[in-house]
């Protein structure tokens, strides 16, 4: 008696799982997730992967170009750049994700509540959101970060998160407002579902794509913020991140001396992780708005068949039989 029931619940569980990840089930998202996953693995296994300690000084091997011992060369005091980049991944990933988690939580709470409520409470939350949107973030972060002598990573993440939630909240608010008046929410209300259940079970799943998108967006912003702040030296971090490496490289004249092995890898890593996150977001965008994907694909497919999507005049193909082209 219980056996078939189990099978069914499991299958629905799987389909639900599948549904939750449907937004990532496209080539762009998968590529992006793979790149991101690579960096996450690097961050986790930094200790194993890095051939040297990132702070291992070797006065005999300064400013070395890439070689077999040092795949990405060395710094001005003989530190191994590759090891620094590998260890730097950790700070970037931790801060990026932590900031995004904080920001997304705030965004969900503020956005969904202000979207679901109406009246002055909703307006007040919306105004708060807009204030955080309009106030220039980086200057504020610079000021706030300078309040700490030697802020630990989570503090930086918290600051980045606290300042970066507004965009997500705004998007979620708009979507919640539109969901609020959908019939299925009305139906749940008419059925007497409690509010928390309406929000958690009926609304949140439909907001997942937007939440994911805002999460990914905040990770990007936080990583850019972290590396920028590290570069300008507002966040002095004793553990390495890519911004810190660039700070050193710039201060030690690597850009001037064309010590590309020192300044290119961290910058390219930032760009790579940015591209990965953008790809994930493209995927989500296309899931939310299938037109975005299909438009290009459709146009290309039609082009192959000799059709132009912008033709305002329907093509006529009476002479050639379509049977042949099939």
């Amino acid at each position: 008696m219980t056996a078939p029931l189990n099978i069914i619940t499991r299958s629905t569980a799987r389909s639900r799982f599948g549904a939750a990840f449907a937004m990532f089930r496209n080539r762009k998202s998968i590529t992006g997730l793979s790149i991101l996953g690579f960096f996450v693995l690097v961050a986790i296994f930094a200790d194993v992967l890095a051939p040297y300690s990132p702070t291992k000084v070797d006065p005999t091997a300064r400013f070395q170009a890439p070689s077999f011992e040092h795949w990405l060369g060395t710094t001005h005091i003989g530190e191994d750049v590759l090891s620094q980049v590998i260890h730097g991944t950790r700070g970037v990933i931790v801060v990026g994700f932590l900031a995004a988690i904080i920001a997304t939580l705030i965004a969900i709470i503020v956005g969904v509540i202000s979207g679901y409520l109406s009246g002055w409470r909703s307006e007040a939350l919306s105004a708060l959101t807009n204030v955080f949107l309009v106030i220039p973030g980086l200057p504020l972060i610079i000021i706030v970060a300078s309040m700490f002598d030697n802020p630990p990573l989570f503090v930086i993440a918290a600051v980045l998160g606290l300042i970066g939630w507004a965009w997500g909240a705004r998007v979620l608010r708009a979507q919640t407002m539109s969901l609020r008046n959908r019939d299925f929410i009305q139906a749940a209300r008419a059925n007497g579902e409690p509010l928390r259940r309406i929000i958690a079970v009926e609304m949140l799943p439909n907001l997942m794509a937007l939440i994911a998108a805002s999460f990914v967006g905040t990770v990007t912003a936080a990583i850019l913020g972290l590396t920028t702040l590290s570069y300008i030296g507002v966040i002095p971090v004793t553990t390495y991140n890519w911004g810190t490496i660039l700070n050193w490289a710039s201060a030690q004249g690597a850009f001037r001396q064309n010590q590309w092995w020192w300044y290119l890898p961290p910058g390219l890593c930032i760009a790579a992780i940015g591209v990965a996150l953008s790809l994930i977001n493209f995927g989500i965008d296309e899931y939310v708005n299938p037109r975005l994907r299909s438009a290009g694909e459709r146009a290309r497919a039609m082009k192959k068949k000799g059709l132009n999507i912008n033709d305002a005049v329907t093509a006529v193909r009476t002479n050639t039989t379509t049977k042949e082209t099939r």
Binding site: R298, A301, M302, K305, L307, N308, I309, D311, A312, V313, T314, A315, V316, R317, T318, T322, R326
Partner: protein, 274 residues
């Protein structure tokens, strides 16, 4: 022949996707001058594809695969629509055949005044008209459809649904075309407004003598306003006859089934049974 406005023969449209979808298959019909031809059928039956297809308004991946559409112009010229080039087609449109679309809110550009959207038509098709003449023509059109010329500067969102549909009709009327294709022009409207607009279309037809192809799924309505009705199903016309004949003596099983989907408003309680 002189009575015919549009001759459609062996007309087929496919959507060239994978796999290709045959949307309209080997349609033959003739539209007479000044007549209202109703096009009825359920969603997906190809009625819209047909109506758009004959004026080559379908976007890719739609492809016309066979047939000819000949427009018998009032000047006596016969225009083979399938043979027109892009530029000729552009000039032909709206001048000879115009359209009234479903859902006038989306059919009007939300950021332009209705006046400017009407003037657009003259700018493109009557380049010799002066600005003043254009404005005059727009006011006249809006007066004809009883929106009032003073609303020229209104934006679409400032008008009610019925008003917007009237504006669309004014726009369709602008170049005094010989054929108007109306795609569910009243579906989104309330019944009283719908009746009012239908009356207006009928009056305008009497005054200007254009032909109408009227698309809708509302068969009872069609029966009242059409001269002839074509019933479509799965891309084909299953029956084409006068409205009265369709009502009193439907031939095709599908026509009968459609008719019996509507309960009677008056008369004996129950469904229309044929």
């Amino acid at each position: 022949m002189s009575n015919a406005l549009l001759s459609v023969q062996n007309f087929s449209v496919i959507y060239d996707v994978d796999p290709p979808v045959q949307a309209v298959t080997k349609i033959d019909f003739e539209l007479r001058r000044g007549e209202i031809l109703g096009l009825a059928g359920e969603s997906g039956c190809g009625k819209t594809t047909l109506a758009y297809g004959i004026q080559r308004l379908l976007k890719a991946p739609a492809v016309i695969t066979s047939g000819s559409v000949v427009f018998h112009d009032a000047s006596g010229d016969d225009i083979d629509i399938s043979g027109l080039g892009v530029e000729d087609m552009r000039q032909f449109r709206w001048d000879k055949i115009s359209m009234v679309f479903q859902g006038a809110m989306n059919a009007l550009n939300p950021v332009a005044t209705i006046g400017s959207q009407l003037e657009d038509v003259f700018e493109v098709h009557r380049p010799n008209m002066s600005k003043a003449q254009r404005r005059e023509a727009v006011v006249e059109l809006l007066d004809i459809v009883k929106v009032g010329g003073q609303r020229r500067r209104s934006f679409p969102h400032e008008l009610s649904g019925g008003m917007r549909q009237r504006v669309m009709i004014a726009m369709a009327l602008a170049l005094r075309p010989q054929l108007m294709v109306m795609d569910e022009p009243t579906t989104a409207l309330d019944v009283l407004v719908q009746r009012e607009i239908l009356r207006q279309i009928s009056d305008l037809r009497d005054e200007f003598g254009f032909s109408v192809i009227f698309i809708t799924h509302d068969l009872p309505l069609l029966l009242e306003i059409s001269d002839r009705i074509a019933i479509m199903r799965e891309g084909e016309i299953v029956e084409l006859a006068t409205a009265e004949r369709i009502w009193n003596n439907p031939q095709d099983e599908y026509t009968k089934k459609l008719l019996s989907s509507f309960p009677r408003l008056t008369g004996e309680k129950g469904l229309v049974k044929r």
